[in-house]
Subunit: 145 residues, 12 copies
């Protein structure tokens, strides 16, 4: 099974900024943890990061031949990018929404996700482990029903 | 590590009703899957189900001596039971919100959780596997930071 | 045909309190009128009253083997108990919502029913006769289409 | 006792259009069923249908000398015709609101009735039987208190 | 100066219904009072009453050759008939909105007027005298600036 | 009959500022027109102007022994001064709300009056003539019913 | 192919009033342009105009035997006539909503259409040419899929 | 005079949890303070605590023969339990709403009380002293007017 | 301990107007009752009344040297005077909000307090006794924690 | 006349994904149909597609020297990209908004367009023919008034 | 050039209260800094402070002969005083809104300014330097275009 | 001190488009004015312009080593780009929001800034001088506290 992990805007700064909210791991460390867990689970995982909405859309468009499941942390685009949601719907791959922090206990605008309705499910609040749980969930999604 | 899994209202009917939304597994089967996975992960898991808001609150009150983490699927109480949220806050145990279905792609009233703000994180949309992922997340929550 | 009539919270006080809104009949008198009318219509009617949301849910859960139609006056739960609505959906019995008073000419919060969307229909405003009309409607629901 | 049954806009198309929502009976068949049931109940029932808001208002204005109770299915006017509601208030006859379908399980705009607050009660969701139940309710309204 | 006074829906019932809200004068008496005052003020006043929105619109359309000012009590159409508002805008005659009762101290839906924004001014709350004051206001409107 | 005319905030600038909205008359000229019309109508009229909310309240408090009717143009306080509304309710004098401009065709915040619900009626949109019409309305209010 | 073009309230005034918004053509001229274009496209087009909501509904009811497509400019009814929307749904003909002006750049209340959800598509902002484009669109709708 | 003091959900945890919000006193200590103050004031006070909405309703139902005044801290039910509000209305006893903390300076959902409209008055923000003040207020309520 | 009691707008009319809402006591009588109770409790109480928002603010500004606790009935300013709320925050004295009537069972606009979030607590609904209870609460506030 | 047709995000996937909503034509086929129709109408049409908001803005900036009219299908940006709307306003070219599907009969968020207010008009719901109609509309816009 | 600087309610307490929000400078010190900077910029600056809304309005009224630009920190009146906004509009002087703190990162009610729409511009968040920047902006406003 | 000035979408068109709103200066001229003022103030200022949200985010990410303060005019992104706000929060540099026009006196959607809460302060309405004032404010921000 192949998973494409898309990190959204500002996630490239992880570990260097606001560790009290997002944890102390850098994105590189998280990507290595993802690779290690994927390897354990026999998943081919690829990770990418983009700050631009258009770039994320373009990446989703080319995902079907290279991935069976999308794992996406849309960052702040979570709350308004209907265009990313449309891209996910359009390519038809099952997608899992991931957040490092519990978006429901933060500012009100973070409590609404326009991406969630087009995803199979979501995992939020477990720091970098949210991604690792998503890998397992991806197995379920790709094979379980 | 000890986890208390609380199934909320109507979940006792799982597998016998509306399998197109909630899947074909019965609550008994889910509880056995939880037990099996917990055993693999060296977690002591206990599962309970209640239809009454007051009973769920009472159960949460007595959790601290017997559990390190709460895993709770509040069912429809998700959307209005501030009393359950207060109970979780009051006992101070880390809690993980779980949903079988992706509550964000259903009716609008299901997109708001009054429980989420007092939880560490949430996992939704993976059927019974949502619980199994939550067991792993519980390990992270209890030990990871 | 078998009908289960569920009286919700505070209805046990009927006839003794606020007769200007709810009429002067006691719940016992209403239940006797229901029994009489059911007998005329060859309906096996059973009536129960609960103040607790969890108890109503539990009663609905056990209804399928003993009833063909639910007749429910959810009292104030009408306006917020998504858990009762879920219970009705889950058991799959046709349900009829009944109110003694015309909930639409009272306080604004009473104008919204979260139960109505999962019912076949509703009858409101005719005092205890709302129940008697619901018995006839139950015949229609159980046999008419 | 005399009842005036007013069918609102588009109801003249009943039975020929959208039977999955409104049933297969034509308005003529419904009117005959009303006549038959009224006869059983010793009610003098008269039925009329109008598409225009002004015509419905005018009909209500002339009802007092010829009817003791109004039974009205305001169709889509249910949701915005304060003018019809004012007409009902003005003539002072008791009125019963009737709907073929359960307006609460359809589009959001159908969940609000501006007519309901000026009616004695309402019956919705039982197809043509909603009218037949309303005839019985009319007896209650005209004589019962 | 010529004034066309348009009475909206249900105003034909004045004096016979709900005198506690609308006063005891019949529309005929009001029209005679209007005629008397108009005569004093050297205004040619014509009065009409319609229950239908379309009829009111049609009347407004033909007003320009026969009137210099419109005086309109739109009744319940006040709160939703954008079509009447468009008619007033379209014919370009100055219009004065009149209400017998103080619409601001009644139900919330009566506090919004979609007609008011296209009128020169409004007079509300003085019973039939609202019309008589509007005749004087019409003089001001037609000649005063 | 005695009328107390209260001009609210900024009305002292009338005639010198924004004549395209409020007209070219100064407040002095308007007060003289009020005096003249009052004299014709055998009304004892007194006019005052205040910019402060507290001063308007204090003036209303002392009105009962010197006035039978209040005529008040609350200016921008119209839209939020519940304290002025309470003062009018408290003293129990009938009050008439007056506006120079048609507040309903201006900015949205001007379309709500918190004063109107405690007044007998309102007159808006006729420039300084709004006051003169209010004097006549005051006669109606004081004597007409 | 046969098209029925329904002009809603106030459109009979076109060309004589507010040409800055609606253009200088009269409805007669527009109807002639429609006839000419229809002739070019081999469409049998019939045009009607009504100010009354009930009349528009009645016209839609009788359209099926005489038209394959409805082209409707509902005027101000666009924003609140659920009864017209129900009529379109009921008769089952494909409908095209047309507006002379761009309703989205005018007052806020004009930005909502209750008719649009039951139409195939909409064309707005091109003056009388909106109708001519709709004739071409009607060909597409009737034959294209 | 007899007072029944009802402590709502989660209040049994007082003193052991979140003392920074609710103070360090246990519910037992508070109940003893209530008893002491009641004794000083010659009030027969009885205290009970329930987590379940239905249990609180049932308790209110049986209060009339044993209490003259209700003192109720509805906990989180304050914000949504219309059923408890209905119970208070139904039994007709004067009720006083009590809160330990100032609910108006906490989360927005805590600023609305559905219980308050059916109470005589409310006291909030004085910790356990809120109850002691309520005992004095109960004397006023029972005897003062 | 020293308390400054501030009566807001319109409270000077107490006892003479609307006794059905506010009671029959005059402000002078209330002030004497406050003085008597304060004396019993060994509190130095000073009472003032202002109709102007600015005057209330100025009074709050000079309170710190002469008072340990503020007791304030902001009247209608309760619902919009953020400036008074800022004054209370700025001077840093603990404040208690008092209302004669139960503001939660009156008009909707009275259910929101912009003052409450900056107060320690509030007491409402007990008529003049609300002030007397506030004196006791002030003791708690000044000394109790 | 020269038209620049801008296809927004995800439209490059047309024909390959969700044909039940967007039709079976690929964007290449649509572009060829546009070219053919443009040729018939003697329009120089150029077509471009972008997924990025910034790229669309940049394209609009450079349009004036190469186009007389913009035809834009903003995809999901329709609902939130005020930046694209500003770009259209800034360059001053007339613009026509186009949608393949009827955005008014889909999810609620699709019913609002922030682009529409800065366009001349809009055409929606006719599949690829929406573009072809827009070409004709562009002729009208460029030459017709 | 002459500038009138108006400090609104509670600003007289600056430096003595809540320095963590408003800084440690007293209003006297700020006024001296304003005087010094004004002198550097050859501006005649006058500073005043009022707690009352009416006093601020009165001050604005008399500003035209003595000032070319208003610099106003309306304090909490920012959020509701339409009367102050009307005063600024009425006198026609260019005005600059100033805030010490960044009102957009504080409570939600502080994010709306009813004064801003009638000002030329606003400066917020730079402590006392907001005033000094406003002096420079005043030069721009008075002379720059 | 080093300042990075970021111009958002469409600002590259300044001076050539809509000068009545944005002034006649080109962005090049503004950048030269910024350079000149910065030089006077001994600030190293760098200016950049981007239309893409992702590009602005990327620029903010690399700002810390090259700037002490951000000065940003987010254009229309002001109103919805939570991703830019997150970028500003993440890099931790103090930021100043700048607008040429007074966004509070334009369309309602322009009155909300999602960027403002993460900035130190904001300056709006002074045309190109807004940037020059921001340079001075930047000195204050970087050194003043």
């Amino acid at each position: 099974m192949r998973a494409l992990v898309i990190h959204g805007p500002n996630l490239n700064l992880l570990g260097t900024r606001q560790p009290e909210i997002y944890g102390a791991q850098t994105l590189g460390e998280i990507d290595r943890a993802i690779a290690a867990r994927a390897s354990e689970l026999a998943i081919e995982a690829r990770t990418v990061q983009f700050n631009g909405e258009g770039e994320i859309i373009a990446q989703i468009h080319v995902a079907p031949p290279i991935a069976d499941v999308l794992i996406i942390n849309p960052g702040a685009y979570t709350h308004y990018s209907h265009a990313i949601a449309d891209a996910i719907s359009a390519v038809g791959l099952p997608a899992i929404e991931v957040h490092l922090s519990n978006i429901f206990s933060r500012e009100p605008f973070r409590r609404t996700s326009v991406i969630a309705p087009v995803c199979v499910g979501s995992i939020a609040g477990f720091g970098a482990d949210s991604y690792l749980l998503a890998l397992r969930a991806a197995l379920f999604v790709a094979t379980g029903k």
